[in-house]
Symmetry: C2
């Protein structure tokens, strides 16, 4: 009986994953080197490399030059979360999206905000408060500060019909940022907008984006009670 042909990197990857899951290669084990595997699988080393590299990216293998490739002892699960526009998120579920601007003003931000955006405390910034609705029900409150020094054109936009999220995506590029997930008790204002009890447990996403060294925006999304963020593992 001839050995089966593992001629493309996906097939090789599947076989590697099978061996790991079947514990033929146990956690901590050093697996054969690429050249040997290539010979065994009847393919080029580049193909094995692509497969192993992909598996390593998922956290199941640890690779080091000269030391070789070993099965991760404590595979760190990597959950990738797609952060799309709230509008898309709602429409993807077949619901009707609604947007409502609550307030828009140029004002001095609280110290916490000016600090996070690394902007002088006396600099006025654009502050937006808005409500996102799904099938006419409150879905999330958006509380946003925009650095008008970085995005001066923002002051010319009313944000009555387009959310800060959407406008910025189209008009203000960013190079990097950070995002934080947490739980909080709904404030009076949040409870009023979301139509939920005061102090209700709400899911919160805080995001801060930068264009190189210049801060762009800081946004806090407060979701109606019961909201879940889910993803495959």
């Amino acid at each position: 009986m001839n050995r089966p042909a593992f001629r493309n990197w996906q097939t090789v990857q599947e076989e590697v994953l099978r061996r790991i899951h079947a514990r033929e290669w146990k956690p901590g084990d050093l697996i054969p080197n690429e050249a040997d595997l290539a010979e065994e699988f009847g393919c080029a080393r580049a193909t094995v490399n692509r497969a192993l590299r992909t598996v390593a990216e998922s956290g199941l293998l640890d690779r080091r030059r000269k030391a070789g490739t070993r099965v991760a002892l404590q595979p760190v699960a990597k959950a990738t979360i797609d952060i799309s526009l709230i509008r898309q998120e709602i429409e993807a579920r077949g619901q009707k999206y609604g947007y409502q601007l609550i307030s828009r003003s140029l004002q001095e931000p609280p110290a916490q905000v000016s600090g996070a955006l690394q902007v002088p405390m006396t600099t006025r910034m654009l502050h937006l408060s808005a409500l996102h609705l799904a099938n006419d029900a409150p879905y999330a409150v958006e509380d946003r500060w925009i650095n008008t020094a970085t995005v001066p054109t923002a002051v010319n936009e009313g944000f009555e019909t387009i959310s800060g999220n959407e406008w910025l995506l189209a008009n203000a590029p960013y190079t990097h940022g950070e995002i934080a997930f947490s739980a909080a008790a709904a404030t009076k204002e949040e409870a009023r907008l979301l139509g939920c009890p005061l102090q209700a447990a709400v899911f919160v996403i805080d995001r801060l984006t930068w264009d190189h060294a210049a801060s762009v925006t800081k946004v806090r999304l407060i979701f109606a009670p019961g909201h879940q963020l889910r993803t495959a593992l």
Copy 2:
């Protein structure tokens, strides 16, 4: 003046990102094909391919055969969250990790659990309740159900000194799973264990893992108030 040399895929990637951020290639734009870019950059097409593929994986480019590569109109930010062991999470912050088993019993799970794990309602499962501590302060409550049909050896483990998380990682492989983040109000028991007020807003992670078609475990992690899950964007 000679053109600068973009001789490796990382450099090519940086240049591609630069052009996107500088809006030389605007959202929606079709960018030159790989062969042309390879010529421009003075490298092989495979190098350009690797660079573009990597950028596309981050969501900034959309690639389609024959249609070509274009800058994503609405770049979906992809946040990758590393889900490591709670012990590692705490130790990585230089804090002392503590673990305390609250209860361990074989019992019939509530319908919600047996349903999620796709196990008959009358099947008894291993139920664990435990507390994770950071510097002796409550950090998170772990509420776990283990499918003993899939992981029979779990009934021989006392879990007095090792958390379900850690034991399963070493003893029960999984092929896939799902994870959900949400906010909840602390129950009486959770509030007692975490030392927080009843109904306090707590951050919750629910995880469900499978080994092929067989469910392995369902775990709910309830974090002490104030907990944040943060990652780069």
